[in-house]
């Protein structure tokens, strides 16, 4: 195995997107540990019921913020990953521009939907 760094920006990726992909990945990992422990490990049956999710969000107001940032980091990281895989296919510039628009739209819709969902659940019964 070579002794050079494993990862570097690809042509068409740019240093900014590459750095964003790396840092969002690290941030995801940190929040994922907390997300996983609370939602799936400490939950009595491995999964929270609706009432437990609502109580958890309402009793710990930092949690919806944490989950919101988690969602945004995950969406950004996943879509940059999809774009990186697409670059392996060496798409034409026009196709890449179309893909960028599509990925941006998916990212905005997913983030917007997730944040709406967090607000809805946090305000449940209020």
């Amino acid at each position: 195995m070579q002794n050079a760094p494993l990862s570097a920006p690809k042509p068409g990726e740019g240093a900014l997107l590459w750095t964003l992909k790396i840092f969002s990945g690290v941030l995801i990992l940190l929040i994922l540990i907390l997300h996983f422990l609370v939602n799936h490990y400490w939950a009595p049956n491995g999964l929270l019921s609706h009432a437990e999710v609502v109580a958890y969000y309402q009793n710990y107001p930092i949690v919806p913020f944490m989950e919101g940032f988690f969602l945004i980091f995950v969406v950004v990281h996943s879509l940059l990953g999809v774009r990186s895989i697409a670059l392996d296919l060496r798409p034409a510039p026009r196709v890449l521009r179309g893909l960028d628009v599509l990925l941006l739209a998916i990212g905005l819709i997913a983030s917007g939907y997730g944040i709406w969902l967090l607000i809805r659940v946090t305000g449940w019964g209020g």
Binding site: L29, L32, G81
Partner: protein, 130 residues
């Protein structure tokens, strides 16, 4: 993560070509496949969490369905993919910034071992709960 370029690259198809592949190459392929799996899971997960907005009956019925063996097996695959992708991501982040580049092969082996140990732990826990 960039794989060393071959003379006649076939893009994504090269991922599935085992010829002349070293440990790092397999690490790259598994990283990509786990990434695709996790991305599909992420958006399915978001859609399923929409049940929370429909109220307790809809969400709790979904949770009951999620405890079926086939779904649990799928969740275990997600855990395996998440562990591998996350731990391998740390390895990539470190070596990308010039840290422990010399030990990347040993780090990859550590990633695989930790993924196996973590997966076993969660598999036992899932079986004991359900």
């Amino acid at each position: 993560m960039n794989e060393p370029k071959k003379l006649h690259s076939r893009g994504v198809l090269d991922w599935f070509d085992p010829r002349g592949r070293q440990v790092g190459g397999w690490g790259f392929i598994i990283n990509r496949i786990s990434a695709i799996g996790l991305t599909i899971y992420l958006y399915l997960h978001l859609v399923m969490l929409g049940k929370l907005a429909q109220g307790p009956e809809a969400f709790d019925a979904f949770i009951a369905t999620a405890k079926q063996p086939l779904i649990l097996f799928g969740e275990l695959l997600v855990i395996i993919a998440g562990l591998y992708h996350g731990l391998n991501g740390i390895r990539i982040a470190l070596t990308s910034f010039g840290v422990a580049v010399r030990y990347q092969r040993a780090l990859l082996i550590a990633v695989v071992l930790l993924t196996a140990a973590g997966s076993l732990f969660f598999a036992i826990r899932m079986l004991s709960i359900h």
